[in-house]
Symmetry: C2
C-alpha cells in the first residue's frame, strides 16, 4: 500500500539522485574541493534545487554519511547481538563489512576521510551524530569481545582494546585496497585478517623435544 502521492515519490527520488551524485563527487574530491555546482551538474539539477532538499553543503554531506552508515550498522548490529559464539559473530561481521565496502567504494572514501577531520567534524552538529554512531559501534563490538572472554573463547585483553585493534586491522586493509591501483577482492582478505587477529603473528613455541 503506497501512502505517498506521486509528487512525494518523485521528490524522494530526486533526493536520492542528488545524494548519489554527491557521493560520487565527494568521494572523488573530498568535502572542501567539491562545489555545489558540480554536484548539481552531476545530478542534472539546478544549483538552487539542491537547497530545496538540504539546507547547506554540510547538511548534504552529513546526511549522506549518516544514511549510509545506518545501512551497514543496522545489519552489523543484528549480527552482533545474535545468540552465537563470539568468534562466529565477529567473523560474520567482518564479512559484512568487507562485502559492504566492496560494494560501496565511493562511500568508504568519504567515510575514511572523515577520520582525519575529527576536530571539525565533532564540533559540527551533524558530525557529532555520525561520530557517536561510530563510538556506539565500537562499544557493541567490545561487548561481544567481553562475552568471548567470559566464555573462554578469547584471551582476557581489555575488550575495548581488542575492538580498537580489530577495527584498526580491518580499516587498514580496506584502506590499502582503496589506494591499490588494480582492483582485487577485498573479501578474500578476510581469512588473513582473522588469522592475524585471532592467532597472532608469533610462531608458537612447538616444544617438540
Amino acid at each position: 500500500m503506497d501512502v505517498m502521492s506521486r509528487k512525494e515519490r518523485e521528490r524522494l527520488a530526486h533526493r536520492s539522485e542528488i545524494l548519489r551524485a554527491a557521493e560520487k563527487v565527494f568521494a572523488l574530491k573530498g568535502f572542501f574541493q567539491t562545489t555545489m555546482n558540480e554536484i548539481a551538474r552531476t545530478a542534472e539539477f539546478g544549483t538552487g534545487t539542491l537547497y530545496k532538499f538540504f539546507k547547506s553543503k554540510e547538511d548534504l554531506y552529513f546526511t549522506l554519511i549518516d544514511e549510509k552508515t545506518d545501512e551497514i550498522y543496522t545489519k552489523v548490529q543484528a549480527e552482533l547481538t545474535r545468540e552465537a559464539p563470539a568468534i562466529e559473530r565477529i567473523t560474520n561481521v567482518l564479512f559484512f563489512e568487507l562485502e559492504f565496502m566492496e560494494r560501496n567504494r565511493d562511500f568508504f572514501k568519504i567515510y575514511t576521510s572523515e577520520g582525519g577531520r575529527f576536530e571539525w567534524s565533532i564540533q559540527n552538529e551533524c558530525g557529532k551524530k555520525v561520530h557517536e554512531k561510530m563510538v556506539r559501534y565500537i562499544h557493541l563490538l567490545a561487548q561481544v569481545f567481553q562475552q568471548g572472554i567470559d566464555t573462554g573463547e578469547l584471551k582476557s585483553f581489555n575488550p575495548l582494546d581488542l575492538a580498537h585493534a580489530f577495527e584498526g586491522i580491518v580499516h587498514s586493509f580496506i584502506f590499502e585496497w582503496l589506494i591499490h591501483p588494480e582492483p582485487y577482492s577485498l573479501v578474500s582478505k578476510a581469512e588473513t585478517i582473522l588469522g592475524i587477529f585471532l592467532t597472532g603473528a608469533k610462531e608458537g613455541k612447538e616444544e617438540i623435544g
Copy 2:
C-alpha cells in the same frame, strides 16, 4: 664550525618559526580551514613574508609533513635495519613511534588527516613524495617480518599483510589516544599492542606441545 652567516642563520630560524606556527594551526583546523593570514599572525610575521619561504600554502603544508616524517623515519629505519631478532626490532620501533607521537600530538593530527585525502594528496607533486615515504616505510617493515618468518620467529603470513595489520593496530591506538578527552600515556599501550599482535586474541588451544 659555523659556515652560515648571521643572516642565513636568522633566515633559517624564521623558517622554523613559521613551520612551528603552521603545525599548530593546521593541527587545530585542518588544511582547508586554516588561512595563511592566521599562520602569519601566529608566527608573528606579515602575510607576504610566508611567501619568501614557501611558494604556496600547499608547499608550506607538505614541507611541514615531509620534514617531520623524516625525523621519525630516519630513527625507525636505523632500528629496523639493525642486526637483531625481528621481534626485538619491531618492539623497539613500536616504542619509538608511540613515544614520538606522544611528543608530537599536533603533528599526528595533521599526518592522520592526510590519510583521508589520498586522491588529492597523491595527485599533488609534494604529496606524492610524502606518500612514497609511507610506502617505503611499510615495505621496510615487511622486510623485517620476512626475516622474522625466515628465522622461525614469526608465522608465515604474507609479510606485507603483517605490516599493514601492525600499522593498522598502532594507528588505531594512536587515533583513539588523540580523540580521548583526558590524556593518558600512549607508550603504556605498547604492551597491549604487542600482546594482541604477536599472540592474537583467541585463547590458545595449546597446539601440540
